[in-house]
């Protein structure tokens, strides 16, 4: 107990003064948390402040943010010519930045990351290269140091344990693309810290993944994409599997829009009490967000600055206004290949603090991710329609078309959605239009033959990995 106090003090000092965190100390704190849970069954008082920080007080939050921005900017300017040039070109002194003036620094784009990747290096030598999955275009390479590879999972393990998101008795199934190495590595390391089992399954044929989830030794946690969750739910239903066949207690999804219809179906079919819509992105690791029971997205203020920048003006979006998430991971959480004001192009909308009444109300929140800015439909008169609205409306169709595939366009002042006949089911275009209208989506609908489906929306479940479990479809191979 005394040692734990000393470790917490050391960690607090590192965080407060912006010094590198001793990952051995952090690992020992995870062990302390495990011992605490074994002895008491739950963490003690003030656990929320321990994991979420003292951010209920706006003044404290502002002071912490200002210092973290300055610390991060100064470090970047002194260690990377690219960042130095960026600050110099705009006449900004990194030592004088704060949460307001930081907006004068131009946002970084994915193109910057791809074009100048190695010029961004600021810290220890990279030990791991990870790439984005490329679902939104050319993959970007992100380099990680050993320090980061140790720090991020230890932080996640500590907060996961204290929030009861993971237990030593858990078995985690990881059904994400093997190319998402950062996420896979993170999940494996978190389980190692906690002492939980991990099964890296990948995006394989769904029946094989289901086999790994089933039974008394099956997974208790599942990390995947909404679209692959949809594939699993559908496959489970096709096999007449139900909640009694699984022992999942939690499903974490991210990277795509999760519709309430799919979440409900996953709960009903897979038996998971909680289907959690999380936010994480390789480029801005380790900054993440978690959803509350009200569906808000609460960003982690400890590790980074999350701005919502209005699409048109580039100014901070007002509550209710559509914007894009611009994220700056702070030092000492991101040090090898940092980004500064990275424009994720993820659409979100700020929520006024006074309108928050959820269990995480002390932490600022935005709407859930509404889709990518590039997928936002805007008519000449300025009416807009975001992917979440479309997906939520279409995935609630009676055909349960999970994951829904569609194409969305603007034709004059009208939005036009194209779906195939398997999605529409017994409904004709007018029927689907009415269904959408009842859910607040004012769009025209075209229904095309199933054969045209290849031109419709692609999802991460399409990043499929083949196995040898199923009979070969090759002709003339073998004997």
């Amino acid at each position: 107990m005394f040692e734990t106090g000393v470790r917490q003090f050391r960690l607090a000092m590192s965080m407060t003064w912006g010094r590198r965190i001793n990952t051995d100390v952090l690992g020992a704190m995870v062990a302390d948390a495990l011992a605490t849970l074994a002895e008491f069954g739950e963490p003690g008082a003030d656990v929320a402040q321990l994991v979420d920080g003292p951010f209920a007080d706006p003044a404290v939050r502002r002071d912490f943010t200002d210092r973290a921005i300055r610390r991060t900017a100064k470090r970047l300017a002194t260690r990377s010519a690219w960042f130095e040039g960026r600050f110099t070109a705009t006449g900004i002194d990194p030592a004088k930045l704060d949460a307001d003036s930081v907006r004068r620094v131009p946002v970084m784009t994915k193109a910057d990351l791809i074009a100048h990747g190695r010029e961004l290096l600021c810290g220890d030598a990279p030990t791991m290269s990870t790439r984005t999955t490329g679902s939104t275009g050319r993959p970007a390479e992100v380099l990680m140091s050993r320090y980061e590879a140790e720090l991020w999972p230890a932080l996640a393990a500590l907060s996961g344990l204290l929030r009861d998101e993971i237990r030593p008795t858990d078995v985690m199934a990881v059904c994400i693309s093997s190319r998402a190495t950062a996420a896979v590595q993170q999940n494996i390391s978190v389980c190692r810290h906690v002492g939980a089992q991990v099964r890296v399954i990948g995006v394989i044929p769904p029946n094989e993944a289901l086999d790994a989830l089933l039974g008394p030794a099956g997974a208790t946690l599942l990390a995947t994409y909404p679209s692959y969750l949809a594939v699993l739910v559908t496959a489970a239903r096709n096999r007449d599997l139900g909640p009694a066949d699984f022992r999942l207690r939690r499903v974490d999804v991210g990277g795509e829009v999760l519709s309430p219809a799919l979440a409900a179906a996953a709960r009903a079919t897979l038996g998971a009490a909680l289907v959690n819509d999380t936010f994480a992105m390789t480029e801005v690791l380790p900054v993440s967000g978690r959803s509350c029971s009200a569906g808000h997205l609460h960003h982690d203020l400890n590790t980074g600055l999350v701005e919502v920048i209005a699409l048109e003006s580039g100014e901070p979006a007002k509550p209710g206004e559509l914007g894009t998430a611009v994220i700056t991971p702070y030092y000492p959480y991101r040090e090898c290949m940092p980004v500064f004001r990275y424009d994720t192009r993820d659409l979100i909308s700020p929520i006024a603090p006074e309108n928050l009444a959820c269990e995480l109300a002390a932490v600022p929140a935005t709407s859930a991710i509404l889709g990518k800015a590039s997928d936002l439909l805007v008519t000449p008169s300025g009416r807009s329609l975001h992917p979440r609205a479309i997906i939520e409306a279409l995935e609630s169709l009676p055909t349960e078309p999970w994951p829904v595939r569609y194409r969305a366009e603007v034709a004059g002042e009208r939005f036009v959605l194209t779906i195939d006949t398997s999605t529409a089911g017994g409904l004709d275009a007018d029927g689907v239009t009415r269904h959408l209208a009842e859910r607040g989506v004012d769009a025209d609908v075209r229904v095309v033959a199933a054969g045209e489906a290849s031109t419709l929306r692609r999802v991460r479940a399409d990043l499929s990995e083949t196995t040898f479990m199923q009979p070969s479809t090759l002709v003339g191979v073998g004997g």
């Binding site: 107990m1 005394f2 040692e3 734990t4 106090g5 000393v6 917490q8 003090f9 960690l11 607090a12 000092m13 965080m15 407060t16 003064w17 704190m29 302390d32 948390a33 011992a35 605490t36 074994a38 002895e39 008491f40 069954g41 739950e42 963490p43 003690g44 008082a45 003030d46 656990v47 402040q49 321990l50 994991v51 920080g53 003292p54 951010f55 912490f64 204290l162 400890n302």
Partner: protein, 358 residues
């Protein structure tokens, strides 16, 4: 010498028995009814025992070199910390601070103005004894509710046995320490004076005894606690109190004695723990203990037969005392703050048992 030593020994026996039993009883009542807040993470473990031991070895030396004003200030801070942490769950905050201020302030007042008479001494000891009993009860519960196990207590007592012998008989640090507290505020002991006879038992010993009893209760239940109480009565109170009659090494002058009580208690405590462990097996975790307490409480408060709705008030289990934010709560991951203040509740001294004829 014999004329004084016998009545002094009887007096010592009574004071030590009453003090030890009262502290153990209070600690048992407390652990059965009050839940202390604890830090978000952290469990008392074997290394904490070592830390405690280091405190115990080094603090007495510090006490001896400190000026009396500093020592009194240190004692006040220690008692304020232990009493405020221990009794916040049971006493409204405003009342608590008034009570702590009153208790400690009155003690200082008595020590400075009323020790010229036997009645003054008796008032001083009565008041000091209440403070010490409350403090020892709170700290014992802080540790045991913080995860300290019987195993830890047993080895702790075993180690203290060697410490006590070393610093009472071989290097006379403990007698000097006992002398240093005489006549000053907040002598950390339970004691009493009758005529010229003066007897007391130090808070360190009381803490070890109450730790052993409630840790046994937490680990193995009521029967083990009863065994613990018996062990304290015999090896923690009676034998040390009677020791001056047969051990010249612990006496000073006519009837003055400083007995290394843990030398009598440490080895039996360790043996008792080993026997209990052999008999019962693994110690219960705090969670298992609390679950058992809650279940028992629920059983004892459920109506014998179901009452018609609305005809009788619902019988509810005795509510756990409201928890409050702990002074000892851990720092936020992002906040600059100090380590757990539980270190402030460390037994600040372990004056050994039985000093007499002050």
């Amino acid at each position: 010498m014999v004329d004084l030593l016998v009545p002094q020994t009887i007096m010592q026996l009574v004071v030590v028995l009453v003090g030890a039993m009262a502290t153990c009883a209070a600690s048992l009542v407390y652990i059965g009814r009050v839940r202390l807040d604890r830090p978000a993470i952290g469990v008392f473990n074997g290394r904490d025992v070592v830390v405690l031991f280091v405190f115990i070895v080094t603090l007495p030396v510090l006490y001896l070199v400190l000026p009396h004003a500093a020592l009194t200030t240190f004692l006040i801070l220690t008692f304020v910390a232990s009493l405020s942490i221990g009794y916040r769950p049971v006493v409204p905050r405003a009342v608590l601070w008034l009570a702590i201020g009153g208790l400690l302030g009155f003690n200082v007042y008595i020590a400075r103005t009323m020790l010229g008479t036997v009645t003054g001494w008796q008032l001083y000891w009565a008041e000091t004894s209440v403070v010490v009993l409350l403090g020892a009860t709170a700290v014992a519960n802080l540790y045991v509710q913080g995860g300290m196990q019987l195993r830890h207590v047993a080895w702790f007592a075993f180690g203290l046995g060697f410490y006590d012998v070393t610093f009472s008989v071989i290097i006379p640090l403990t007698p000097k320490l006992a002398d240093a507290f005489i006549g000053y505020p907040l002598d950390p002991s339970i004691g009493m004076r009758v005529g010229i006879l003066n007897a007391n038992i130090g808070i360190g010993d009381l803490l070890v005894y109450s730790l052993f009893v409630i840790a046994a209760y937490k680990a193995y239940g009521r029967r083990a606690a009863t065994v613990g109480v018996g062990l304290v009565a015999v090896f923690g109170a009676t034998l040390p109190a009677l020791a001056p009659l047969i051990l010249e090494a612990v006496t000073r002058g006519n009837a003055n004695a400083v007995v290394p009580a843990q030398a009598f208690f440490g080895i039996p405590a360790l043996i008792t723990y080993l026997l209990l462990h052999r008999h019962y097996g693994r110690e219960r975790t705090t969670r298992e203990f609390l679950t058992a307490i809650d279940a028992k409480r629920a059983r004892t408060t459920v109506p014998v037969s179901p009452a018609p709705q609305g005809s009788l008030p619902t019988v509810e289990s005795v509510p756990a005392v409201e928890s409050v934010p702990a002074v000892g709560s851990v720092p936020a991951l992002t906040a600059a703050s100090t380590a757990s203040t539980e270190t402030a509740a460390t037994p600040t001294e372990r004056r050994t048992a039985t000093s007499t004829n002050r």
